[in-house]
Symmetry: C2
């Protein structure tokens, strides 16, 4: 039986019970519209924690003006059924007023790392992400929290926040779950028209091309980027946001790939913005 | 016996022991150079918590260029004796490298409230304060934490941070402890020459003058401010930074005092900057 916690006070009570009983707690923060990518985190959380909580909260602070905050899918009943099926113990699903009773004066500021890649196209996005994750970690006080590699820049920033601000939590990063054609699972895939969906695998195909080129000896980041950009620009309906090869930890541009690097792409199809990435490694 | 914790790992171990034993923990964050103002917090913490930890850390992030970070007093042995005498259980005293192994990318940003009053003269100061307090709360995970009303703006900002970011901690604010002539206790009083020390009570006298004027029927904030400013400017060697009457919670300027307001002053004597405040109330 999955318990639904609508208020911060209810969440604190439930967390207090788990703590007093000496149980470890895993938290999977989500925006809802749950899919197999989320479910894979729920299962990893169950495997390592006595209790699993997830949060379902479409966080207004991480959406910019003109983005999809209003139309972001909110299929709460279906989400709850999935959570129950996967053995989630508690769903924290507050409304925006519960989380932000007034305009937030105090925020967690990501600095330079929040301004590159997706941060360049979405000003303030990572400030919103870090601020809400800080709130969720304080409310639910998990021992471990789970994020997906699909949101690579978010993962780097949350790891930095937890390390630099000394949050008492472990972070576990799960692999990207993909459709058969390689498209990374995302709640935003539901926005795609049939024609857009048919082209959307170009993100993954471009990333794999970079990987193949690297394996064949091409280490120049700019060459890998050009190849990815060209492939994406050739896909009907695809508008390139970025296709970059960067340092996996610092997200800074690299000249040549040495050891590991992160290939990351962002592409718009109409109003829908998709992202994907692959860790490139020289073996 | 007071245990000294030099590293974050040592602190986490000690905190873990207290938690596992089911003990409540009080934390008094300090910059060291402890005086009776600090000791009053230690005693309030002992009265309400099973164990009391204090931190002694001169936080570089809250000092601006040209401020007194280098010469800030660090009488660690005397501090430790005072902590022992007051029954403090643990002193967390990391060095700057332990707290900031690399330049901090991720910070807690105070917003508008960090830019007024002391924030106007000390850009970045409250960012540094909030960031280090967030770190200390995450490392020591206290049930309650104790601050002094002497640092009124700091108190407002920490209360806001704890409320807005949902830190699982209670904040207790202790009254300002004063010398017989009214000068608020501060580690920085040690910087004053004998002549400066003789004049330094002007901060408290100005605040009391505002209080007396209010009691006699003067509710115009600008009149109260002018009186305080004139008194401070008349004191030999005193350089006025600000003397303001503001809303106690929002720190915004008020036109007329209704209910409660905060009278706050900052004054320089040579290189030494002193602050003080009084909550003005209409009864």
């Amino acid at each position: 039986m999955t318990v639904v916690l609508r208020t911060i006070a209810e969440a604190r009570n439930w967390v207090g019970e788990q703590r007093r009983a000496g149980r470890t707690l895993g938290l999977v923060p989500t925006l809802g519209a749950l899919h197999e990518g989320h479910a894979s985190h729920f299962r990893r959380a169950r495997a390592t924690c006595d209790r699993v909580a997830i949060s379902i909260f479409v966080n207004p602070l991480q959406f910019g003006a003109g983005e999809d905050y209003e139309r972001y899918p909110r299929p709460f009943e279906a989400d709850l059924r999935l959570a129950e099926k996967e053995g989630v113990d508690a769903v924290f699903a507050p409304d925006a007023k519960e989380m932000y009773p007034a305009a937030s004066e105090i925020v967690v500021e990501p600095g330079r790392l929040g301004e590159v890649l997706c941060g360049a196209s979405r000003p303030g996005h990572f400030r919103g992400v870090l601020t809400v994750v800080a709130k969720l970690l304080h409310i639910l006080q998990p021992d471990r929290t789970f994020f997906g590699q699909k949101d690579a820049q978010q993962v780097v920033l949350i790891q930095r926040m937890v390390a630099e601000l000394n949050f008492p939590v472990e972070i576990e990063v799960g692999p990207t779950i993909r459709e058969p054609d390689g498209l990374a699972l995302s709640s935003r895939n539901a926005y795609l028209s049939a024609a857009e969906r048919a082209q959307a695998s170009v993100l993954y195909r471009a990333l794999r091309r970079a990987e193949t080129l690297l394996a064949s000896g091409e280490r120049q980041a700019s060459r890998l980027e050009q190849e990815m950009q060209a492939m994406i620009q050739a896909a009907p309906g695809a508008q390139l946001d970025y296709a970059r090869v960067v340092d996996r930890r610092t997200l800074e541009p690299v000249t040549a790939v040495e050891g590991e690097a992160l290939a990351a792409v962002a592409v718009r199809f109409g109003k829908t913005r998709l992202i994907d990435n692959l860790v490139l490694g020289l073996s």
